[in-house]
């Protein structure tokens, strides 16, 4: 246990140190990269609650990522164009304040997760994978044809949204915001895993009938986990959209779902810091391999394949060995 804690500490410190170093060396783009890692890791932390803790193989988490992104895009677009979003029951002109945008992103993606989860969790196994995939695609096609908000073109926001007391246009400050949220989510995720809910959820993944015989509802446990998971991924979506100052249906596509899942698995399913390691390694690979060959995705594919076949437990698993029972 000590080893993994130490490792986790090192990972999070490294994620903090790299942009600070980049700041000193005047390399703003490295800060942007680190911000991307923090945001994608946050999305992965969200998925990991469903996937790692709850054993729910959702191939539709892009839906929540995208809803978070669109929450930001829609609110900010209205604010920037001074077009009221609605005028009843009160006049609301959208917003460019991050805290409000985050709240809307979290609520909207949680609501979507509640509906999608309530339908999908009636099934399990492969059905669940395919149904979450299909719901994701449904939203994807909807977003493409939703011309009011740019359809396939997406929505561009000219200026990054504001955070009280900070200037988010300065890369390192925006990184700080994302990093703080990631730390918050990691903390939350750790507490959740150790809580009564986490214990029951984890048990439901291992042995559903046991959970039922002690008088707990696996369906309810999973639904709550799915909603929490979707909400965190949605928050990450809002940040990702703000990082790019842009949101488009691509955020909803099933490749995005696959990528978020890759972050989690690359790092190690169910490992608290798995998504952080996974996202960091993925972004590094993308930039290193992408520079070497147009066909870099072949190598990414081979690497993933090797990972699944020979290094189960992800990178952390390969480095630290089997997970020890929680104490």
């Amino acid at each position: 246990m000590g080893r993994e804690r130490l490792f986790n500490l090192a990972v999070i410190l490294a994620l903090l140190a790299v942009p600070l170093l980049a700041l000193a060396l005047d390399e703003p783009f490295v800060i942007t990269l680190a911000t991307k890692v923090a945001i994608l890791a946050l999305a992965g932390v969200g998925l990991n609650i469903a996937l790692g803790l709850g054993g729910l193989v959702s191939l539709g988490h892009a839906a929540f990522f995208g809803i978070g992104g669109y929450a930001m895009g829609i609110l900010a677009a209205h604010a920037q164009n001074y077009e009221p979003l609605f005028s009843w029951p009160f006049l609301f002109e959208g917003s460019n304040q991050m805290p409000l945008i985050w709240l809307v992103a979290v609520l909207a993606s949680a609501a979507a997760a509640l509906v999608i989860g309530a339908l999908s969790l009636r099934t399990s196994g492969v059905y669940f994978i395919m149904i979450t995939l299909a719901f994701g695609q449904m939203l994807y096609y909807f977003a493409i044809s939703w011309s009011a908000y740019g359809g396939e073109d997406g929505l561009s926001i000219w200026v990054r949204n504001e955070m009280p007391g900070l200037n988010t246009l300065i890369p390192i400050q925006f990184f700080g915001v994302c990093f703080a949220l990631l730390c918050g989510a990691l903390l939350f995720s750790a507490r959740l895993a150790g809580s009564g809910f986490g214990l029951a959820l984890s048990a439901a993944r291992q042995t559903e009938e046991r959970v039922e015989t002690v008088g707990l509802q696996p369906f309810k446990l999973r639904l709550v986990a799915f909603v929490i998971s979707g909400a965190i991924t949605g928050l990450a979506g809002a940040l990702f959209a703000d990082l790019n100052r842009f949101v488009s249906p691509t955020m909803l596509s099933w490749h995005t779902s696959g990528e978020i899942m890759i972050f989690v698995i690359l790092g190690g399913v169910g490992r608290l810091y798995g998504p952080v390691v996974g996202a960091a390694v993925y972004i590094l690979l993308e930039h290193l391999l992408g520079g070497i060959s147009e066909y870099w995705q072949i190598f990414l594919g081979l690497l993933l394949l090797g990972m699944v076949l020979f290094a189960r437990g992800g990178l952390i698993g390969a480095l630290l060995g089997r997970e020890v029972a929680h104490d």
């Binding site: 507490r191 809580s195 009564g196 214990l199 959970v211 029972a325 929680h326």
Partner: protein, 259 residues
Amino acid sequence: MTDTSLSPPMQPVLRVEHLSKSFGALKASNDVSLDLYPGEIHALIGPNGAGKSTLIKQISGGLQPDMGRIELLGHDVTALDTVARARMGLGRTFQISSLAMEFSVLQNAVLGALGACGKSLGFFRNVMKDKALLEVAEEALSRVGLLQAAQQRTADLSHGQRRQLEVAVALTLKPRLFLMDEPMAGLGASGSKELTGFLDQLRYEAPILLVEHDMDAVFALADRISVLVYGAVIATGTADEIRNHPEVRRAYLGEEDET
């Protein structure tokens, strides 16, 4: 739970009436009726494929019967699911261990205590530091003699220890009755003997419907025995009655002698 009067004219804790369940042409349960009174151990025996598992599943709530009725503590629970029945006080152990293998022994016991406490689950507080739950869990573990193994990973337990943990988890639920599916299976002579002694005491806490292959244990423990063959109960009675029942001898005990 602590009924002291043991004479039969009281209300049964569990009453199964005319239960039937078919899978296609196969009648897995054929008009089964049985009951369980406070303080008794009622054993259910029968050859492989007699429909014991199907019956257990229907009683615990995992399977809906085609016909018939199940009553728990005087309430009709036929339409209720596993969770609801568990909450009413049905404590079940599994034939094939269904413990959370990644958990420590203590975590498995705490899970049981958590389900039984009836409070809403916390999202933030560390459940393994909850004194009330730990007390229940540790007491159950110590009763089955597993307390010293509390921090071990469940997957690393021996087969016998897993059977003990099964029983311990059921104990944490403080149930009104136990439904035990072959708790002796694979225990070995000394383990069986130990568990037999334990169950003998446990019956006064809550009655036990015991499905068991170990005939020595069954005849030593059971107040009554029901024999299930081809989905139907062919006889119910005391150990002696069953031993001498001609149909049972033919259909069941003869076969059992061969193994």
